[in-house]
Symmetry: C2
């Protein structure tokens, strides 16, 4: 049975990088390695421009009806003046909530070919391979009550709620432990249990849930220390699991340790294995339309999609190997360019991956 992919190109460089990812899917399809059908829809600023809504009902319905969503990127200065409820990010958050994508997998992986791109000394980051598992549909992102009120005194008062139910913590920990079982079997749960009661509960549940995983070595770290340790000795980590907000901060920090965020994919999964896949970088409006953006993070997101949602692990392996091969060939987009390499544009990089498959 053919699997359905919904393609949401989004804003900025989104359409350009997604086009290269589709080339890769088409190539695998042509040789019979996968069996997918693709449909496109609007999200983010592009959707707002079309119908005044960053997440049109039709897009959410199409996403629900698909096995996987491939997203480019959303946002840009054009839509920044809009009200909170209309901004491109709402499209993204609405998809996460609407599809129940509670598990965000954010690998921070250093390609040996790009080791020099890191701002860290090479001995500190060479071989880096962290998987951050971030809770994505709960916590302070979605907690109620929230808002800004005017107090009797006339001054404004703003509030958001960081809240988790035991079941939400349990299911994200299970995802982290399952992933760790296929890797180094070490999980570091990051919290602020010395200050925040909700994360004291998080820690307890992380420990209780680990009882089903006798082989997992579970440790705990306060979030402030985790941000230090990522800079001090990032290779100490295998899998990290944490809340939505802490995960947002730490995964960006971890990604930047590699120096090449144009290379990093991400997956957001729900309980049924449906997923949304996107590069971790943004819509880069400053370089949009110039054909110079790096499509590799989006292509690697397709690999994650094949592995986690489309049951095509072999094709995923081939994509990852092809990306490594084009790097070996010395091809580089501008963001990862270095001396002695050959600078190529978005389309040429996509073509090279297809050729290397």
């Amino acid at each position: 049975m053919s699997k359905k992919i919904l393609v949401l190109a989004g804003d900025g460089i989104g359409p350009e990088i997604v086009a290269e990812a589709i080339k890769v899917l088409d190539a695998l399809q042509a040789e019979g390695a996968i069996d997918v059908t693709m449909e496109e829809a609007l999200v983010g600023g592009a959707a707002y421009d079309d119908c005044g809504d960053p997440l049109p009902a039709a897009t959410l319905e199409a996403a629900k009806a698909s096995d996987a969503v491939l997203l480019g990127a959303v946002g840009g200065p054009k839509w920044e003046p809009l009200h909170f409820s209309k901004r491109p990010e709402r499209g993204l958050l609405g998809l996460r909530a609407g599809l129940g994508l509670f598990a965000n997998l954010r690998p921070a992986f250093l390609y040996p070919q790009l080791a020099d791109a890191s701002t860290l000394k090479s001995e500190v980051v060479s071989g880096l391979d962290i998987m951050i598992v971030r809770e994505l549909t709960g916590g302070i992102y979605f907690g109620e009550p929230r808002g800004v009120e005017t107090l009797e005194s006339g001054e404004r008062y703003g509030y958001n709620t960081l809240c988790y139910k035991e079941s939400e913590v349990k299911r994200i920990c299970r995802v982290a432990y399952d992933i760790a079982m296929k890797r180094g079997k070490r999980v570091c749960s990051v919290d602020k249990a010395n200050v925040l009661e909700v994360t004291e509960m998080w820690r307890e549940v992380a420990i209780e849930t680990a009882a089903d995983y006798p082989e997992i070595e579970l440790s705990h770290m306060y979030v402030d220390n985790a941000s230090m340790q990522l800079v001090r000795a990032p290779k100490q980590f295998d899998v990290m699991v944490t809340t939505n907000m802490f995960g947002d901060i730490l995964s960006d920090c971890a990604a930047m340790l590699t120096g090449s965020i144009g290379m990093l994919p991400s997956a957001s999964l729900n309980a049924e294995g449906q997923g949304m896949y996107e590069p971790i970088h943004g819509s880069a409006p400053d370089i949009a339309g110039r054909g110079i953006a790096n499509p590799l993070a989006t292509i690697l997101s397709v690999a994650m999609m094949l592995r986690y949602s489309l049951d095509a692990g072999e094709a995923a392996d081939r994509i990852e190997a092809a990306v490594s091969k084009v790097l070996d060939q010395g091809l580089r987009t501008g963001d990862i360019m270095s001396e002695g390499m050959r600078q190529v544009g978005t389309a040429e990089m996509g073509d090279a991956v297809v050729a290397a498959l």
Copy 2:
């Protein structure tokens, strides 16, 4: 009139490092450069062991009656099994709240003599000099409601509240702008205004408050991007101002960029200029009592104390110059030791600073 300092040595290496800071104060006092009286009290684990309370009423009263508090460090594995309300951190949080120390100044400064200690490439961090201004008595650390309940379904539900009043945001922004006026006049306010309503208000108030500071160049950054930018290009920052929780995470990340957290002081101030001063590192129970801890962060905290609470800026400058001088002399404690330097213990380092004053 003599100024009153309350000395809280605390736990772990606290007593050792504080002893060296007192040597420096004594030396300045002896030559008439300052006029202070010192008193000691218990806090943290040491206070719990004495009377079952990490912040005895007598300690808080003594702190209120003083011009400044010098704190070593609190905490250790011995007290970790204790209930939340009895743990050493409660002493620290109680002092912050009890004294109204809303402004936490956390410099991240790279000593040229220690440039190699950083895990980052030297061109990325050489000359680094960031001041992080962290709100310290509000936000999710103190927000109500908070707690863990059992839902009807039988599962636990934990919650904390991130909340700010306009006036709280305004006063911390003013502190940041005032400090920036004496530095590079650039302030980056860090928020998550695209997701959290309370920080959307924070951003608005930051902008409004800046109207009184026409010379300040104010920028805004989302917290996830800030954690990336600290790793990518930390020298872009002059002063950063942010919430209690974001400040906790980012200031530790920024501190670790220097590679020598044993060198970094901090100040926590209230509206009256009273302050608490402490090194940013912890109580390091693993090396406590061995006379090898680095006292320089504590000595530099004394410099901040003289500058911000005791109106003795000249003496502060002299301490900072003396610290730089002992580094020039090649003296190093174990944590900052490198080839060709001379390794010294805690007391010898303190004596060297006194000699270099």
